[in-house]
Symmetry: C2
Subunit: 328 residues, 2 copies
């Protein structure tokens, strides 16, 4: 009964906020200010031109700008990114945009969780200077036809299971970089491959922007924070621990001197299968720069995995380092 | 004998300048200043970082910057672009880079004409503020892997015969935009499809850059200026007039009330074939925005053609407009 009431409240809240967002930003600003008790106004921009003008003005004043690109439904992971931005740069822009081009046909675009009310509340509390909150039409108009694509890095890990994903990511991030014109952008290390793809894209495209990777933030029991965790039933939530536990297991094996990738991954796959309702997309040991699979863990190595639990696809990763051979 | 001597001089000149360019820019600057008698130094940047720093500094001073991207071997067409830039913006940057990614495997990358001495002389005479003159390695390093591609506009006209061309153009122009950070960029209308592709790319990628198209500059007999005209033998030079003459013929036919695209193009193709040693890649009547072929010339229409003469591929185009029907 209480849960139903909560759901009902949540739906009303979303509806009211969507109405406000689409009708009158002054009301939105006033509400956010009232909720957070803050005095400084947080800018909210829906259009590319308004966002660009704001950045251009600040650049002339020699202010540094940091961008935190998100798809909203903010959690503690996002909050750590925003706080890092506040710490290092004069102004922080939070972008909230559920980017359709990075979702495959059978993926969760339509069900991706939304809570704009809470997102804006968090942003304001943290002291975000501007939120970029465009509509889909503002980002991709009718005749849209330009895509940014990498030829190598996406051909590994998640890219093998989500063939259009990184093309969508690099396209929208290029656009966000041109719209916000930041000095730096912060991305979470949970999406390790995404971070590498964006680093490479930024270098290749000569964006004069520093890419900062921020550590994975976890629940108390180890599950990496993700907006998609909201999909999990209580049963699935238990199974979801197979990911972080796998990281621990790999670390332990490597610490004990195991270097054979096949041996490690076989044990890990068996371990994951022992959890109820899990389906492995991949578990891999690879070079942290090129993402090529390695046969042996002889230097710093990325362990990354993607597991589908019910309908929810979760990812996690860690860098492992082999023990120094005492015989050497 | 005189021609041989000229060739010899030309080769020495290229060698000396390549040596200077790759060794010491101060000498290069002094030489250019001496040759042109100008007092103001024209900056010459070989590295991305030096070019970016210069632009960043000027932006802080609220100066506007215009980019004229070229592959060098400058002619009067390029000069008109640079002069337009000087007229409209505080600072003009000329980039000279023979971009390998826009050449197909059997195209003329290796034989593309070079005359850096003359290029820098022209640039200085016109009052260009900075020349961006990167090496291939500076633009595309070992692990380079990012490309910008359009899905629709390149599937017409030249794009059908040069399948990798526009991908290379949009990639390098994106990079140049990020390196120079201009307020505007000027391109010649001779490469009509390129201009449309770049307009669309700029809009799609949210570059806050004005794209300016400048009119085709022609030799006295009508041949559109092109660096590739240098390839033509005296005989081929005569045949090259088939392009500009075709534009005149199409204009005349449309003026006389002919609207049937098939009829017009059939006559034009026969006309081109009447010139010695010509091979038609395409001649087309199409929508000036989408580049889709039209069946009838009932509104503003692009006539564009590409003809191979010997081994030299030449292009030209014009916009035609039907006469108003006097019966209406």
């Amino acid at each position: 009964m209480s849960l139903q009431f909560n759901n009902y409240l949540c739906k009303i809240s979303i509806s009211v906020f969507y109405y406000l967002v689409n009708s009158d930003f002054d009301i939105l600003k006033i509400l956010v200010r009232w909720r957070t008790g803050a005095k400084k106004t947080m800018e909210i921009f829906k259009t590319v031109s308004a966002m660009q003008s704001w950045s251009k003005q600040l650049k002339k004043q020699d202010k540094t700008i940091c961008l935190v690109p998100t798809m909203g439904y903010l959690h503690k992971g996002h909050i750590s990114l925003m706080e890092k931005g506040k710490e290092l740069y004069d102004k922080v822009v939070l972008s909230i945009f559920v980017n359709p081009t990075q979702f495959g046909e059978n993926e969760d675009l339509d069900s991706y969780p939304v809570d704009l009310d809470k997102d804006l509340y968090y942003a304001k509390k943290i002291g975000i200077d501007a939120v970029f909150l465009p509509s889909k039409d503002e980002i991709y108009n009718n005749n849209y036809q330009t895509y940014v694509e990498l030829t190598k890095l996406p051909k590994h890990l998640c890219g093998l299971f989500r063939p259009v994903h990184f093309k969508g990511v690099t396209t929208v991030v290029t656009k966000l970089f041109n719209i916000v014109d930041p000095d730096a952008a912060i991305f979470g290390q949970k999406d390790y491959q995404q971070l590498q793809v964006i680093r490479q894209m930024t270098k290749d495209m000569n964006f004069n922007i520093k890419i900062i990777g921020a550590p994975i933030v976890r629940e108390d029991d180890g599950l990496a924070m993700s907006s998609r965790n909201a999909y999990l039933t209580p049963e699935q939530r238990k199974s979801s621990l197979c990911l972080s536990r796998s990281l621990e297991k790999v670390r332990k094996m490597v610490k004990q001197g195991e270097i054979d990738a096949d041996v490690i991954l076989h044990k890990i796959n068996e371990f994951i299968k022992s959890f109820e309702g899990t389906k492995i997309d991949y578990s891999a040991l690879c070079d942290p720069e090129t993402l090529n699979n390695v046969k042996e863990v002889t230097s710093k190595t990325l362990f990354a995995l993607a597991v589908i639990i019910g309908k929810t696809r979760l990812i996690d990763n860690t860098i492992v380092e082999p023990i120094t051979n005492p015989a050497q």
